[in-house]
Symmetry: C2
Subunit: 204 residues, 2 copies
């Protein structure tokens, strides 16, 4: 499970980029918290955890904050990512190419067992699964996105780990089982909608 603290830091980074584009050079915890939807104390605490300090009177300098955050998240290095399953969601992510994912994160290849999908025109080249090893090694990929149907997700997951993948973002609606040293982030889009429906009914 991804820590809230980490998610918020990444959110702060987005907000800071926005403030920078608006021409700001310094910012207070209050402004950043307001933009990120959290309290100023939470912002300072989050920074404190990672040893990030500001200026007692003048808040934080946006530029240096961004540099520190980029270091924490290794955004100064290139991270190649692959995607398995060129269905609707997979194709959508591929069409963003490296735009949906952050700075210096690149979707270098897609995979699908269906030859028709392999010829499909998307933002990234699509290969059959027997090319996995070759491309993972060639592009030095350690992170993969799974967008296959739930029945085949665990099998694909095992296959990816076997080929050297260490981190997985899974969109298939099952909880993937993997060794503890593998980072698995399960996202279930239907659950996110159903939870909203639940809370709406709670209000009544």
């Amino acid at each position: 499970m991804i820590k809230s603290n980490i998610k918020r830091l990444l959110q702060y980074r987005l907000c800071l980029t926005k403030f920078k584009e608006l021409g700001y050079s310094r910012i207070f915890s209050y402004n950043l918290g307001n933009e990120a939807g959290v309290s100023p104390e939470q912002v300072r605490k989050d920074f404190s955890i990672h040893g990030i300090t500001g200026n007692k009177k003048a808040g934080y300098e946006i530029e240096s904050l961004l540099i520190i955050l980029n270091q924490i998240f290794r955004m100064d290095e290139i991270h190649n990512v692959i995607l398995v399953g060129m269905g609707h969601i997979g194709t959508a992510l591929a069409n963003y190419n490296n735009h949906f994912i952050g700075q210096n994160v690149y979707l270098v290849a897609g995979f699908d067992m269906d030859p028709a999908k392999q010829n499909k025109k998307t933002g990234i080249p699509v290969f059959p699964l027997d090319k996995l090893s070759e491309l993972i090694e060639g592009f030095q990929v350690s992170t993969a996105i799974i967008t296959v149907p739930p029945v085949s997700a665990q099998e694909v997951c095992n296959n990816l780990i076997d080929k050297g993948i260490k981190g997985i973002l899974n969109f298939a609606p099952i909880v993937l089982k993997a060794p503890k040293n593998i980072i698995v982030n399960n996202i279930n889009l239907s659950t996110e909608i159903e939870a909203i429906v639940y809370y709406l009914n709670q209000q009544k």
Copy 2:
């Protein structure tokens, strides 16, 4: 923010459906926890919170568990959902029609300001934004999905709330601001990948 307890209950529901299809009629907290990736104690505790009880020796009956969960999440009623922004992600979700979202949750209409997107062939009809009121009222919609670019997301959000929407699933990479009575679930896909990259580097 969605409680973990609620997310897990929805996950249990998926697992139970799977077990049912495999022909099982009863299940122990251990089996369910194993499938959902949590401890048996966590399963029992989650059930306990909602007053769900099993049988001291024979575990839980799958069929009645599913009935109770469906009641908790109002899955016996129809929930119509709309989607604003027919870009890559929006189109992908629309193409699933009501398959990506749960039982009795239907994507009834998409919206986009671009007339070209309005004619695009997708699983759902696409309208200009001035039809929002008409369709929200006609289909009695209270939940919307936002898949527009970040610059227009807050404006779309305000517009939706103004038209009577009470719950929002937001894929735009900003934290939407909304009154407390509005349920907002912000999902940032790039953050999910970047968090994995972070944890992978932590291991080194």
